[in-house]
Amino acid sequence: MLFFLVFAFGLAGAIWIPVWWSFVPVVFLAAFFTDKGPRHSFWSGFFAMALVWVSLILQRSIPNGNILARKMAGYFSLPHWTFLLALALLVSGGIGGLSGYCGYLIRQRLRLSPR
């Protein structure tokens, strides 16, 4: 459930909001409201956002014959363009996961505070 929420809204954010970290509040809020466990929140954020980025990247790069991806790999001194894909996966997954985990943590905090 959380995974699909993040995927859907993260994708919409990536397409419609021209800021690369637009998914941070999206994942945060989704994790906050669905209120799953810490691992669930992190990994749903991680995999959903990684999937969003990797799909969007391949959708751009494959029709391009990966011309630019190869050149950019050279720019970053990487041996192959798929390393860039992996890097993008780590960035989107890492930040996505972290956002989900923070959403979960704050929900826990608010639940505890009335006591």
């Binding site: 980025w53 391009n64 991806a69 050149k71 989107s92 890492g94 704050i106 905090r109």
Partner: protein, 792 residues
Amino acid sequence: MLKVTVWSILLVTAVWALDTRFGLAPPLGRVLSPCTGFWQNAEPLNDTNSFSIRLNGINRDVVVKYDTDAVPHLFAHSNYDLYFAQGFITARDRLWQMDLQARTASGRLAEIFGDRALDGDVHYRRLGLSFAAENALELVLADQDTKEMLMGYTAGVNAYIRQLTKATYPVEYKLFDCKPEEWRPVNTLVTLKLIAETLTGGESDFDMENALGVMGKNSISELFSRSFRYPVIPDSAKGVYTAAPGISRTDVLGSNNWAISDEKSANGFPILANDPHLKLTLPSIWYQLQLEDPGSNAYGVSIPGVPGIVVGFNGSSAWGVTNASADVTDWYRIAFKDSTRNEYRYNGEWAPTVKRVEKYKVRGGVDFYDTTFYTRQGPVVYDGRNHKKTGLLNPAGDLEGFSLRWTMHDPSNELKALYLLDRAKNYEDYRAAIAFFNCPAQNFVFADKKNIAMTSSGKFPLRNDDRWKYLRDGSLPADDWQGWIPMDKTPFMEDPSRGYVSSANQVLAGHDYGWFIPGDFALPYRAARINESLDRMTNANVDSMRLLQMDSYSEMAAEVLPDLLKYVDRNDIGIGHGKEIFTDLATWDYRFDTSSRAATVFTAWWSELNRGIWGSIMERKGVQMPWPDYCKTVSILTKDTDSRWIGFVKSPVKGALGDIVNAAFEKALYQLRRRYGQYGENWAWGKVSYCSITNLTNIPAFSVRFNGVGGAPNTIDAIAGQVGPSWRMVVALGPSVKGYGILPGGQSGNPGSYFYDNQIPSWQGGRLNELLYLDSPGDMRTQMRSTLTFKP
């Protein structure tokens, strides 16, 4: 609570770090993101989308047809709309290049690249490129045609910039974390000044002054002044021609142009060829396009940032350029009254300087201020603050400065020349057009359906003396320039009886020409080869011209190698395969073909030989001096074999030319063996020589480097490392004009586009693409890639 705080801070910090530029490292999150990052710049290979855009500022529809090489063909109903559309579509393909060139010329790179670019910025501003552009602006705007041209183009570029988003910025803006700024009319003019600086901005006067101090006037004239055969415009009455003296350089860029008359061509109409050579870059220096409006229909290459076509053809005529290589700059010693530099000595009195305070915004640093002082002899580029950069042997005092008098600084309207050339129907139109081209002076070749012509056109200063190659005295009115060669008296010829005109950066005119034009000219070998080939040519067609552009025969090797070999004993070569090497050299056809091993050996030998003869004389510690050109070496080896200059060589048998030649040969062979192993396939010219097409922003991953190129400096196909033909073009005039051309790169400036470098294989292979010259937007002779329509 602590846990929440720690993780939240971690998240915010990570997002911040990924959104921030560190030094030259781009903001990683932004750059890697599929929605804002570089992936957005990955153009689909088969993008054939046609669409229309509504644009404020144009008056009627403009249709842009992109052909299969991504060359845009523009069809407009007025001049203004045409140049508006040119601005828009050029920016669409080359915005970063345009921006970078304009910023370079106006000394504003530090705004993007920070401190590291500041030195270069200060130099460009002191050279006064912006000052020159501002001087030209008034003249350009005073002419109705060029005003429309410039203002239309500017508006078009800005219309493109305005519809960009951060996601659609060219990729370099993302990598360097900056944004495009509004294009101003003066950006176009400063781009033209940058070209002028590239082609006429040499500083050899300081080195010559050093040589004068070290060697004295007699030696200088012995080493550096000579007459050359094959001037661009030969004396009319003589068969073989001698020419006015000039310094010649061995490293001049190797542009060629020529046109043959109807009598020499197979179809009875003139044919014109041009391959301007420059430092090769990606994106390509040139941008191909066709410009059509009710008054004109021209095809050719333009300079990104500048409206109009520079080298090309229309329905009636064709034209092209090589650099005239004339000396249109002089450095003057300026004596300031005191450290304020408010006044300088002129004609026995103190004359006021004009100050221009320059503010530099430095990214990541504090603003920097610098004042340039302007004299009647131009801006003071070097003064007490940066004297060392001149390399002068006798350092100047703190109250001394060096100003640069340059035709580039004078008001001129080169856009008018482009405007008129694009519309030229005949010889008279061509002559009227190029009279507007002041700087950089160029050899303009021309052909219409009946006539051919060549004009060395530009503002050529007149001096009182022969001190043009040294520093001049800024306090003496006698050292001032004394005016110009009138524009209608610069060297030219029309329809010569020999049936062709040609130029290859060589000396401009023969002895019969009444004016003196000094310069840093190319050696005469390319010119000789072109002229001798065209002399012989009959029934020529486009392919004859193409093959001549690709000709790798070295007149220089042919002239000198037989004499060199006389000194070598084939049985006494102290390296393996000695006899084979000797035989290959002795039977060489003097062509720098990719398979030639002799070409490699000759090149290494020649280089060692020049070092051997001139090294001990010219390489004095800490003194910058120009080296004598190859012709002097050739003359020592072939005619003047007991020259006194041989006496300076540090060799076991002092002064024995044979020993020097042999020592250079052995040294060259040992070095080649060390680098390429035993004499064999690895010594082939195509494996040793290379071509490097460097990215304009110096990004290695966006650059291309390859072996397998023929040609060498001083052959017609003069490819040497980073320098080569930046555009090859052949145009066959006739009932319908046919053009052929190739770029060492492509149409797009986007490294993420197939069209960034797709023409390189054809360029390397010496092939030309047929240039599609359309009559109207509805001309359906061939498949078009896409159509872009601008609607008001």
